[in-house]
């Protein structure tokens, strides 16, 4: 298939599937909390609605950043789709996507001029603790498989079995990232409701639509990468079941866990990351990991 057509199709799938999964996530949280919850399609409808709403610009914004940042956000997750599901390229590109996402989160908050956005921007720096375990997990995948290329990691797993059995603690570190990035997460200190919507607070209309679009794609890409690098070659049904199961698990966790204060959030992430990091090193040096 033509590369551009493939990219377009994969981006549409990522957006729609990600939106439905985030809608499911919200539904699960509601059911756990004994509320009826919105329809599963609601997140998608919200995203589409924002594209047709009037776009306002607060007086305090730094316009070039305020506008540009939303398009950059959408663009980096499209790059995530291209590097992951389309090209099966290097994990380092995806790590780069996460790193830029952190910068975008930071600038989105600061460019708004809102005190809520600015506080969220400061917290975005603190929550870089999320990306450290991700980098460690990628390093362990490299140590075991000898490659950063997603296609080659899939081939490795088709011969040696899924990496979740070999380096489960590295998978746990990656799973921490998924929990952190899920809506209403205990670690989502940048979107704490005390900050209204955090770095997104002052973005309305079309710009907010792009943010929702990016969130949906981000959720899909994160789940896709996790399933691909730890659960080996999967077919479409395998991906679908895996994504739904992870969405269920994060939904249960987020519905039953209050948000941490920033220092507790960072310390918990670093502690779990450190335990998993040294645990995996011990496993490698004691020969548990072949």
């Amino acid at each position: 298939m033509n590369l551009m057509a493939n990219i377009l199709i994969q981006v549409i799938i990522a957006f729609l599937a990600g939106s439905l999964l985030l809608g499911l996530h919200r539904k699960i949280m509601a059911r756990v909390q004994r509320r009826p919850g919105p329809p599963i399609i609601q997140h998608l409808l919200h995203s589409l609605k924002f594209f047709f709403k009037e776009t306002g610009f607060p007086k305090t914004v730094s316009k070039p950043f305020y506008i540009g940042i939303t398009f950059i956000l959408a663009l980096i997750w499209v790059v995530g789709v291209i590097a992951g599901p389309v090209a099966h390229d290097s994990l380092l590109i995806l790590f780069g996507v996460y790193a830029v996402y952190k910068i975008v989160e930071h600038n989105s908050g600061s460019s708004s001029g809102s005190p809520y956005g600015k506080l969220s921007c400061v917290r975005a720096v603190l929550s870089a603790a999320t990306e450290l375990p991700l980098f460690a997990a990628i390093v362990f995948v490299y140590l075991v498989t000898g490659t950063m290329n997603i296609g080659e990691i899939i081939t490795y797993q088709s011969v040696h079995g899924p990496l979740i059995y070999t380096i489960p603690l590295a998978a746990l570190m990656f799973f921490m990232l998924i929990i952190t990035k899920s809506p209403y997460s205990p670690f989502a200190i940048t979107k704490d409701k005390a900050l209204i919507s955090g770095f997104e607070t002052e973005h309305y209309g079309l710009l907010r639509g792009f943010m929702h679009f990016s969130e949906s794609i981000a959720w899909y890409v994160m789940l896709w990468v996790f399933l691909t690098i730890f659960f080996g070659p999967l077919n479409a049904v395998g991906y679908l079941i895996g994504m739904i199961v992870i969405t269920f698990i994060t939904g249960f966790i987020n519905a039953t866990t209050p948000i941490f204060s920033p220092n507790h959030s960072v310390m918990t992430q670093i502690t779990i990351g450190a335990i998993c990091f040294f645990g995996t090193i011990v496993m490698i040096f004691t020969g548990v990991v072949a």
């Binding site: 298939m1 549409i12 799938i13 729609l16 009826p36 329809p39 599963i40 399609i41």
Partner: protein, 100 residues
């Protein structure tokens, strides 16, 4: 991947139509419906069975549209019917692919 895109678009369109239809039918405040809607169940069964077992993009697409129509109904409606349709479709799938 084009077929998966068609399936997911069909499911989304079905869900939106189902939501609009059920809000038109039931405008009242939320009630946890305990009744079993036989017509909706038949649509759901046909939809899910076609979606999983048709082996044809167009028929599967229509299946996902019908399945989405029932599953996408407003909260409180279409839950049991969707569950029945999904279970029957999975059973049919295993029966058709069962090899001893």
């Amino acid at each position: 991947m084009l077929d998966y895109m068609i399936y997911i678009i069909a499911f989304v369109v079905g869900s939106i139509l189902g939501l609009l239809y059920s809000y038109k039918q039931h405008g009242e405040a939320f009630v946890a419906v305990t009744d079993f809607n036989t017509v909706a169940a038949i649509i759901s069964i046909v939809g899910w069975v076609l979606a999983f077992n048709a082996g044809n993009v167009i028929l599967s697409g229509i299946g996902f549209l019908l399945a989405g129509f029932i599953m996408g109904e407003r909260p409180g409606y279409g839950r049991k019917e969707s569950a029945v349709g999904l279970i029957i479709a999975i059973v049919v799938y295993f029966l058709m692919h069962w090899t001893v």
